[in-house]
């Protein structure tokens, strides 16, 4: 397991600077495929959307409660679809013929964005669509995903794979609502956080002391929590509805900032769980990259033997990181109950923990990157929700698939090759 450094990496040191960069066949093929995908998107707009388009799309930019009211944005549907289709066609053709090389991924992402805009304009033809409230929902829905990713980052930066995030979310959601119903929202939030920490303690004991395969532990945690909460929900909560009726955290408007058009309602008029997410992302980033604790945690995730040889206790570092990670996961679980509906439903986390895992990878194990990725997923959830309210000829079941499709596309295609911590998932044995 020890690290060897026999191979000097390419092009980073002067001696190896001569290593030439050439486009390999697979890279050229990838560039061409993404070009074709972009052209197909353009074709989709022209063939399916434009013939069915008419009238104007009206986009609301303010919500009813906003201090500054912006007037609605009215867009002629057919004309704007043509423009967007041409943009897509141009980007796709350029990518196919010449390639954007390093910026290919960015351009591909941009094309998806253009396509999504085209789709929204088409779907809104002759209807009203409130952009700001969609963005408000985006930030809200990205919260459990970003926190789930953060939970994963804390664990994996120390070298412990945590795929039990889903279970930690669900456990936090459940205990949050029960304790919240009994003692109020704040105590419920603490209970949710502790529940995540306790589940993480199980992960830490099995992974660090008993060196059980970490994937298996994660699966066990997920199944255990799903079964336990479903059982308790059907046996206890149904009979005692009082236990399943927690107060919901209200949105807190931050003075001044909350009055800025669009940005105000989106970022500065949310619940404390959303604010907590932003604060945690910032704090964990600082702790990981600027403090002694962070340096030691990352070193244990990269090369535990090196850390051990310098007197850093691998077990202690991993325990702490995993428990912190679990607490973040439990806190995230409270979003589902205390942050939104105030009641628990079986399996209500709906795979958000796994999407959080995808966001962690997409964000290259960096909290800020993961937040960005979570925003993409939150947007797709919010979009599918808002679109289902419009009168369009697409079954809502298909719209509900959007977040998961986005996950697959992101994980399979756009992620590229993010590098996980080198010792991720490897139990450490002293000898």
């Amino acid at each position: 397991m020890s690290q060897t450094f026999e191979k000097p990496p390419a092009e980073s040191y002067e001696l190896t600077a001569s290593r030439t960069r050439e486009l390999s066949k697979s890279q050229i093929r990838r560039a061409q495929i993404s070009g074709v995908v972009m052209l197909l998107l353009a074709a989709f707009v022209v063939v399916f959307l434009i013939p069915n388009a008419e009238g104007d799309a009206t986009f609301g930019l303010s919500t009813a409660r906003d201090a500054v009211q912006l007037s609605d944005l009215v867009v002629p549907v057919t004309a704007s679809l043509w423009v967007l289709a041409m943009v897509l066609g141009f980007l796709g053709a350029t990518q196919f013929v010449r390639g954007f090389q390093r910026r290919s991924t960015l351009i591909l992402g941009l094309s998806f964005g253009v396509f999504v805009i085209a789709f929204i304009i088409w779907a809104t033809a002759d209807q009203q669509f409130n952009l700001t409230s969609m963005l408000v929902a985006t930030v809200s829905r990205c919260t459990p995903i970003a926190l789930g990713a953060l939970s994963g980052i804390l664990c994996e930066r120390s070298g412990v794979v945590n795929i039990g995030i889903e279970g930690m979310l669900l456990g936090g959601a459940f205990s949050g609502v029960v304790i919240g119903s009994l003692f109020g929202g704040w105590i419920g939030l603490v209970a949710a956080t502790l529940t995540g920490g306790i589940l993480a303690l199980l992960l830490a004991v099995l992974a660090v002391n008993f060196r059980v395969d970490q994937i298996i532990i994660g699966v066990v945690i997920n199944i255990l929590v799903l079964g336990l909460t479903s059982f308790l929900s059907s046996q206890v909560l149904i009979k005692n509805p009082d236990l399943n009726n927690a107060p919901i955290f209200p949105a807190i408007k931050i003075p001044v900032l909350g009055d800025i058009p669009i940005i105000g309602p989106v970022f500065f008029n949310q619940t404390i769980i959303v604010y907590g997410m932003f604060i945690l992302v910032g704090t964990v980033t600082y702790l990981l990259f600027r403090t002694r604790w962070g340096l030691r945690t990352r070193s244990v995730g990269e090369n535990p033997r090196a850390a051990d040889s310098l007197g850093v206790s691998v077990a202690k570092v991993r325990y702490l990181a995993v428990i912190y990670g679990g607490m973040v996961g439990g806190f995230a679980g409270a979003w589902f109950t205390l942050g939104t509906v105030g009641r628990f439903d079986e399996g209500m986390t709906g795979g958000r923990g796994f999407i959080g895992l995808a966001a962690m990878i997409f964000g290259a194990w960096n909290p800020v990157g993961a937040l960005g990725a979570a925003m993409v997923f939150g947007f797709s959830e919010s979009l599918s929700e808002k679109l289902s309210l419009l009168d369009i000829p697409i079954p809502t079941e298909f719209l509900a698939m959007i977040p998961y499709l986005v996950t697959i596309v992101v994980v399979a295609g756009l992620v590229g090759r993010a590098r996980p911590p080198a010792a991720d998932g490897q139990p450490y044995t002293k000898e």
Binding site: S18, T20, S24, N303
Partner: protein, 501 residues
């Protein structure tokens, strides 16, 4: 500081790794600890660094008996280890690696980068160990990484420095620089323990030599008077022929031909670049180079384990560029892979099974879907006998063999086929001197039978001992082709470092 070990004994399940080891290292002196792989050198050093707890014995520093519960205690006592596999985090910067565990911090545990950089700079200037504190460790060459390791232990106030096989991954020029560093440290009164199996280096740098065999101290030698042959005999316990006897090569027709072979990785970087050479019947071609300059990829390109992006590989006049590994194997290419445990054998299979891993599916070892157990056993018995695999018990698992005997088993499998080309990657890495001697003899014998042989080795001594022709690889290219009888190690070393290209 003076370090004494008294009666150190360490037992692992089934192995007595250290048996009553007693030795002394003095201030301002270099003690070389030599012994074969498995002689117990690394165990002893792990005991010294606090990673292992000895079952018996004492560690005494300046007359004080020490007790190490963990590496932290050993560091506090002034012992600094420079491990064979560097204990570095590749994605961390130099200063992050150096201060890990003793980080200078401001209030609240916030790292003080300025202070950390200053500490690294100070040590590096005081001891002449030039290094940039801000570069990532993965971006610097191995020789500089070693400096980082040395700075790490010096910053922790080490007075006793232990180097475990420090030259194994260095170029000949880096080895020179390293010896300079050791002389500098020695001049400042450091106690230095130098663990190695390279006899010439021990003789060049040490003030005392202690020899370990089978976990025991078997003798001491004075570098002023000892010869490599003496030391080898002490290490192995019998006389050893260090030079391979071989006559002038009589090359015949070309067997393997590579033309403009280029291999790109997934990111489009060239792992192999326009490689062209040939290997003829009856000659040994040695590929020299520092590890990681494309040798692994070259061997896998020839044996078909990795696809090439451009170029052509011809074997006995046939274009085999698109042949599968098995097609190449049946066409007549034998392959001793560089990593015997992962590629050369299956540790949980028996010796007999390992000996037919490449041919179990064909006559006479199989008939239809049925393996011919008795044929396999008879053949295995004969091979074990012929290639001196010890213990010669074919029902033992391959994993139970020592490194040298496992390698002999693999050589037995590959060399027993009568094929025109043998590709040997690192044929003697990490094995005992006796087995090295034996395998070298087999390789030369194969050549004298008129076979074409390609050797890839990072050991320059091995390249010179065996090769008739030497190719030097650097950065995925062949940067030099030399006649072995005319080349010097210095010259090859320069090519290996890419400086003469």
């Amino acid at each position: 500081m003076e370090l004494q070990l008294k009666g150190i004994t360490k037992q692992f399940p089934g192995v007595l790794a250290n048996d009553d080891v007693t030795l002394t290292a003095r201030s301002g002196k270099v003690l070389a600890l030599i012994g074969e792989n498995g002689a117990g050198k690394s165990t002893l050093m792990n005991v010294l660094s606090g990673l292992y707890h000895p079952d018996a014995g004492e560690i005494i520093i300046d007359g004080q008996v020490q007790k190490f519960d963990d590496p932290g205690d050993a560091i506090k006592a002034g012992i600094g280890m420079v491990h064979q596999h560097f204990m570095l985090v590749p994605v961390f910067s130099v200063w992050e690696n150096v201060v890990l565990g003793i980080e200078p911090t401001r209030a609240g545990g916030v790292l003080s980068r300025k202070e950390a950089r200053r500490e690294v700079k100070e040590i590096s200037e005081r001891f002449g160990l030039a290094v940039d504190p801000d570069v990532l460790v993965e971006d610097i060459p191995v020789g500089i990484q070693q400096r980082v390791e040395i700075i790490k232990v010096l910053l922790r106030g080490a007075k006793i420095l232990v180097f475990d096989e420090p030259t194994a991954v260095l170029t000949p020029q880096e080895v020179e620089e390293f010896f300079g560093i050791v002389a500098e440290l020695k001049g400042r009164g450091a106690t230095i323990i130098f663990i190695t199996h390279k006899l010439k280096e021990a003789l060049a740098i040490a003030d005392d030599i202690t020899v370990l065999r089978g976990g025991k101290v078997v003798g001491h030698a004075d570098p002023a008077t000892a010869t490599p042959e003496d030391l080898a005999a002490m290490m192995v316990g019998r006389d050893i022929e260090l030079v391979v006897e071989k006559s002038e090569a009589e090359p015949g027709a070309g067997v393997l031909e590579l033309a403009d072979v280029t291999m790109l990785d997934d990111y489009g970087r060239a792992l192999l670049k326009d490689i062209s050479f040939s290997v003829r019947a009856g000659e040994i071609v040695g590929v020299a180079g520092i590890q990681g300059n494309g040798q692994t990829e070259l061997v896998e390109a020839i044996t078909g384990l990795l696809p090439i992006s451009r170029g052509r590989i011809t074997f006995e006049g046939k274009d085999i560029t698109r042949y599968s590994p098995r097609d190449r194997h049946t066409a007549g290419i034998a392959h001793v892979p560089e990593d015997r445990n992962h590629m050369g054998m299956i540790g949980s299979f028996s010796v007999a099974e390992n000996l037919v891993l490449d041919s179990y599916y064909a006559q006479p070892f199989s008939r239809g879907i049925r393996l011919q157990g008795d044929v396999i056993r008879d053949s295995a018995e004969a091979l074990v006998e012929q290639f001196d695999v010890r213990p010669p018990i074919i029902s033992n698992t391959g994993g139970a063999l020592s490194g040298g005997n496992a390698q002999k088993m693999i050589v037995a499998r590959e060399f027993s086929r009568d094929v025109p080309l043998v590709v040997c990657a690192q044929p003697t890495r990490g094995i005992d001197v006796g087995s090295i001697e034996y395998i070298h003899e087999q390789i030369v014998k194969k050549r004298d039978e008129g076979k074409a042989i390609l050797i890839v080795s990072t050991e320059l001594d091995e390249i010179f001992a065996l090769s008739d022709r030497i190719l030097v690889m650097y950065d995925g290219r062949i940067v030099a082709e030399l006649k072995a009888s005319e080349a010097t190690p210095t010259e090859v070393g320069l090519y290996m470092a890419g400086r003469a290209a």
